[in-house]
Structures are given as C-alpha cells and as structure tokens.
Subunit: 208 residues, 2 copies
Amino acid sequence: MANQANRKRAPSRIQQRNRKRILDAALEVFSTSGFRGSTVDEIANQSGLSKPNLLYYFPSKGAIFNELMAGLLDTWLDPLRALDPEGEPLAEILAYVQRKLQMSRDFPRESRLYANEIVQGAPRLHAMIEGDLNQLVEEKSQVLQAWMDAGKINQTHPKHLLFSIWSLTQHYADFDAQVRRLMVNEDPFDAAPEYLETLYRRMLTPKG
Amino acid sequence: MANQANRKRAPSRIQQRNRKRILDAALEVFSTSGFRGSTVDEIANQSGLSKPNLLYYFPSKGAIFNELMAGLLDTWLDPLRALDPEGEPLAEILAYVQRKLQMSRDFPRESRLYANEIVQGAPRLHAMIEGDLNQLVEEKSQVLQAWMDAGKINQTHPKHLLFSIWSLTQHYADFDAQVRRLMVNEDPFDAAPEYLETLYRRMLTPKG
DNA sequence: GTCTATACGCTGATAGAC
DNA sequence: GTCTATCAGCGTATAGAC
C-alpha cells in the first residue's frame, strides 16, 4: 500500500500554530461563557482568524470544545496521580494541596472551564469523566483510608477529604471575581498556601 | 388626584401565580445553562406558558434574570448575617457552616445560579454585589478577628476562613454532578455535616 | 489556506386577533 | 391575558472564488 496516499499529512508549522491559537482562544471564551454561551465568532475574533478559516481547522464548535476538554482532563488529574502511597502521608497530602493551589493560580481559565462544565451538570463531559476519574478516585481513596487505618493521619471520610481539597483550591480560580472584589490590595494567593497548609495540618495530624 | 388612574393595579392571583411559575422555571434553566446559554423558549416551556405570554409578564430575558438574582442575593447572605458577635465563637461558626450546608442541600439550584454567575466573572451581578456583600464581609471579618485576638479561636486569616466555608459548603451543590458520580449509593449530605464540623473544630479550637 | 458570500435555523421581542 | 403570526438579527456551518 502506498504510504503517502493513505495517511494524513503531517501538520505544517502554520497548521500547528493556528490550531494552538484556536484552542487558546477557545479556552479563554469557553471558560468565560460556558459552551452554550460562547460563539464561534468570539473564538475567531479572539484567535485572530476569520470564522470560516477557524472552521477549516475544526469541523464544529463542539469539536473544539471536546479537544480542549480532553487535553485538560489529563493534566488536571496529574496532581492526584502524583500522590505517592509510599510517601510520608501528611507530607504527601499537604504537597498535593499545594500543587492543586498552584494550578489554580497558574491555570485559572482551565479551572473555570472545568467548573462551568460541572456546575451545568457536565452535559458534554459524561463519557470522558466516567472511567478515568472514578477509578483514580477509588484508588487514591483507598490509599488515604490505609493511612488512616495505620494511624498516620486522623480518621475521616476519604472522599470528602478529596472533595474538600478540590473545593478549597479551585475556589481561588473559580470564584476569583468574588474573591478579588472582597480582598482589595491583597493577592489572595499570598495567604492561601499557609491557610490551607494550617487547615489540613490541624485536621489530619493525629493527637500525640 | 384620582387614585385608580395613577396607581398600578394590585396583581391578581393569576398574575402572582404566573410570575412565580416563570421565576421558578427561570431558576431551573438559568442555573443549568447560565444567562447566555439559556433561552426564553426553554423558560417558557419549563413554566408551561407560551413565549409571548411569558414576555407579557417580564419585558425581557434580562429582566427575569435580574429579578431572580435580586431575590436570591438577599436570602443568600442571611446565614452570614445571623453570625452573632455576642454568641460563643466556635459554636457560632460551626452553626454558620451547618446553615450554609443546609442551603446547599435545600437550594442547590440557587447555589448553582450564583456559581454560574461568579465563575463567568459576575458580568451581570456587579452593581448588586458591590455594596451589600463587601460591607457584610468586612463587618463579619472584624468579628472573627476579634474572637481570634481574644483567644477564643485560633489565629488565622478571617477572609480566607470565610472563603473556605463558602467553598466547602457550596461545593456539594455546585459540583453535585461530579460528587454524585463519585459517591454511588451514598448521599454526600449524610457524611458532609460531620466532616465539616470536625474540620472546623480541629482548625479553630485553641490548644488548651 | 484564507477569504467573501450566503444558507438557514434559532433567538429575543413585537403586533394584533381573540 | 393568552394566543398565532411574524420580524430582524444572530448563530453555526458551508460553497466556492482566489
């Protein structure tokens, strides 16, 4: 079989650059307005491409969103994957909290994109989320439970512990508009690391 | 001056009922799709009224949203208003956490409506939020700070403490789709009250 | 690869009959 | 008060010239 004829061409530099532009623009727009509230026009303007040109690179608005989400989900779960069952329990958890907090600070748009989707009932995320996330959470919950049973950290509900970490760290990105309006002349991310470290240290350190 | 001619008629029972229907339908739709992602058609269908009839009761989509938000904001801040400076500090805070958690459970749509608006940068909430919320938060932050200075609860950042309470309690409503997908055969609200009580008790109880 | 032009359904809102 | 009919504009997406 002929190689050239049957394969897709490798994307040119221009193609790569434009796809990247589009995805970055889409991140900006989708994270601000959600899927249904966003328009292809906005994404085109934001990316500097014309609307038909944008639709030359992606077949539809939904396709852009899906590609964006797939890429996001993967990196979004990395901090949790990195939670090491062999590590020192409290230190592992505190490090996880700080990693998540950093992601909130460094990738707020990604966090809001995800938040938008979940708040609205995850209508487009269903399939993606189902397998990976569920399995990862089960696995890490068991790690946490084992640490509790061994007396390394206080007994508590493992999943609620995970939820609380997600909630507290992502809050600074997702509710940024509110947080910053209530903390004038003070960067929320200045005090947040220490606040969260203290909170989980007190929560989890066994009496001794 | 003639009374009847210059005043608006008192709304009839039908009007009251239909306005209520519309607002309830709008809450359902807006909280699921955000303002821009929602359509008047959906709200009309959800309320059982025709689209023109709906627009007989409200002049525009924006007007429905504004009325909904105004009503929401007021009740939304009630739990915080109820934080009593004269009460026993730890008990007051723990009670506040439980009140917020109950609102998450009993009014998840209201929570998601609010979350949608804030995540998207609060484009339509600006004016409403500015005055009330800011002042209330300042006032209650000082109450918390006073309790800390008096040694009644541990020293920490008062505003971050408030943020964390909002975040943790609203998470169960706002991220309900995710939470429930990860907790099959278990109601998140079963364990949540105890989890949050324990967390804040350990966080705030002074060593002694 | 990129553009202009355009098809065509959906959206918010109005007019006017009943 | 409620309906049918309708409008202008915006939305996604495509056709076809360059």
